[in-house]
């Protein structure tokens, strides 16, 4: 238990948040929009 939470909760929620954050950083680094 970490912060009173079972490991499965930390891994599942933390993992999804990390993956999404990494994907949005990748988008920011690679998107080259122009009007």
């Amino acid at each position: 238990m970490l912060f009173g939470l079972p490991e499965i909760t930390i891994i599942a929620v933390g993992g999804v948040v990390l993956v999404i954050t990494a994907a949005l950083v990748y988008w920011g680094l690679t998107f080259e929009g122009h009007d």
Binding site: G4, L5, P6, V13, W27, G33
Partner: protein, 508 residues
């Protein structure tokens, strides 16, 4: 709670500021384009905070905490996928729609659908009517939240709370259009972000802090700290459909997606998804955790769950705050923060309804030779009618705020997601496919939503206990209709597909 002069003053100043913004914005309105898409000149931060303000609604403050109080950590996916919906909207819809809109002069997302599917009347009318229906459902939920705050703070009757909330929101939206809505959202979102980051931890510490709250709700029921609840609602299949509902359903909602047409520069789309995800993610997580803390405070007898109201769980964060903060003035500030969150969605919804009626139905279907002044006037009249109409419906609030708002989002998902995604990415999607997908998606969402909400047991199916959120079934029906009907009907002309940037790419 007795009426307090400081709280009255704080809320009054907030309302006057909004009216001031509306008055200032009204000076900038010269045309329908100014009114509905702010002259396409929104800057980066106004756009980011407008997106957060549009997505952050009554559910985000009262409903989110209420749901956390009721069902614990299995509902935490809301805190992931609602903030992500802004990025999904920008990346998968916004980049292309903004680019096409610049050259084609779109005012609403219906302009895109009419163009892409070569359906200037049928699909435009259907999508506008569907958009108005789902926006009205969503709007009722917002008014319920506004009135809850005013009742809590001032102890005034529901009808009076609704009238006050309606008049103020209606006034600045009607006179200032999207300029007023966007600049109000800038202020409202900053207040929301700062307010929640300051005040939610106060509730959490009152309940013993992060770890203590988790340990306490674990002691009530171990499933409350799990990422899903195998023993009830929020089992894994439901969680997946919940993610689809929030992530994609909000992203394709007309009042959210229309914002991407109003920015000045497409390069704003580069970092806005990440910034919105992180900033709004922190805010909405703190709110959910304040709901967990509210559960601990109720179970330890610090506060009691309300009796005699239709939606007691949604009041928990208000009562928890009252128990945690010594100053009445701070309650007034928090009330303004809640109002800011709710009103920033309400005003955008009303404006979107005005746009869909005056621009899509009146100007583009009923009276194509209508001049700009009459379209602008009609937009304002429809904003007023939609505000008053939903206020009347909101007099009998639903049992739980979150459920009504999810019904609105679910209907948006089933109605708009497939025609928009297929239109932007699949060159095989046809007009008939879009009409079938949108109409069947809308009808299926309303039917499944009704059966689920009223716990109907028919044809051997208990609709109160279906494993997925009702909108997921309607979404599948919408998807099947699009694929099957499109394969059987004539393809859209290549010229139109090229003009509307249709294909398996986001940007070239």
């Amino acid at each position: 709670m007795a009426v307090d002069i400081v709280s009255v003053a704080i809320v009054s100043i907030y309302f006057l500021a909004l009216l001031g913004i509306g008055f200032w914005a009204s000076k900038k309105i010269k045309s329908t384009e100014d009114y509905l898409v702010a002259g396409r000149e929104l800057g980066f931060w106004v756009f980011v905070l407008l997106m957060i303000g549009t997505v952050c609604s009554g559910m985000s403050l009262l409903g989110v905490a209420g749901l956390g109080y009721k069902a614990g950590w299995p509902t935490i996916w809301e805190q992931v996928f609602v903030p992500l919906s802004i990025g999904i909207c920008i990346i998968f819809f916004g980049v292309k729609l903004h680019t096409i809109a610049k050259t084609s002069g779109y005012i609403t997302v219906q302009d895109y659908l009419a163009h892409r599917y070569e359906s200037p009347t049928a699909l435009r009318s259907l999508s506008a009517v569907a958009g108005i229906i789902v926006s009205l459902i969503y709007l009722v939920g917002q008014y319920t939240a506004i009135s809850m705050v005013l009742i809590w703070l001032f102890g005034i009757p529901l009808w009076l709370a609704l009238v006050i909330a309606t008049l103020v929101t209606m006034a600045y939206t009607t006179i200032g259009g999207l300029y007023a809505v966007a600049w109000a959202a800038l202020i409202q979102s900053v207040m929301l972000i700062v307010g929640v980051i300051v005040m939610a931890p106060i509730i959490i510490f009152k309940a013993g802090g992060f770890t203590a709250v988790n340990e306490f709700i674990y002691s009530i029921n171990p499933n409350l700290v799990m990422p899903w609840n195998p023993a009830g609602a929020f089992a894994p299949p439901y969680v997946v459909s919940f993610a689809l509902l929030l992530g994609l359903g909000l992203a394709c909602a007309p009042h959210v997606i229309n914002n991407v047409l109003a920015i000045k520069d497409v390069r704003y789309f580069r970092w806005s998804p990440l910034i919105a995800f992180l900033v709004y993610g922190v805010v909405i997580f703190l709110l959910k955790f304040a709901g967990f803390a509210g559960l601990a405070l109720v179970k330890t007898g610090v506060i009691t769950q309300r009796a005699g109201v239709a939606n007691p769980t949604d009041y928990v964060i208000l009562d928890a705050l009252q128990a945690s903060l010594p100053s009445v003035a701070l309650w007034g500030i928090f009330a303004v923060i809640v109002l800011a969150a709710v009103m920033s969605t309400t005003d955008r919804l009303m404006l979107t309804i005005g746009a869909m009626f005056s621009w899509d139905i009146y100007k583009n279907v009923l009276k194509k030779d209508a001049d700009d002044a009459s379209v602008l006037l009609l937009s304002k009249i429809v904003v007023i009618i939609s505000a008053i109409g939903t206020m009347i419906i909101a007099i009998n609030p639903p049992e739980m705020l979150a459920i009504l708002i999810w019904m609105g989002i679910g209907t948006m998902l089933a109605t708009f997601a497939v025609p928009l995604l297929a239109g932007l990415y699949w060159r095989g999607a046809t007009r008939e496919g879009a009409l079938a997908s949108m109409s069947l998606g809308l009808v299926a969402a309303l039917v499944f939503g009704f059966l689920n909400y009223f716990k109907v047991n028919a044809m051997g199916i208990d609709f109160a206990a279906i494993p997925l959120h009702f909108s997921a079934y309607a979404f599948v029906i919408s998807l099947l209709a699009m694929v099957i009907v499109s394969l059987l009907t004539k393809k859209t002309a290549d010229k139109v597909l090229d003009e509307t940037l249709t294909g398996w790419y986001i940007s070239k």
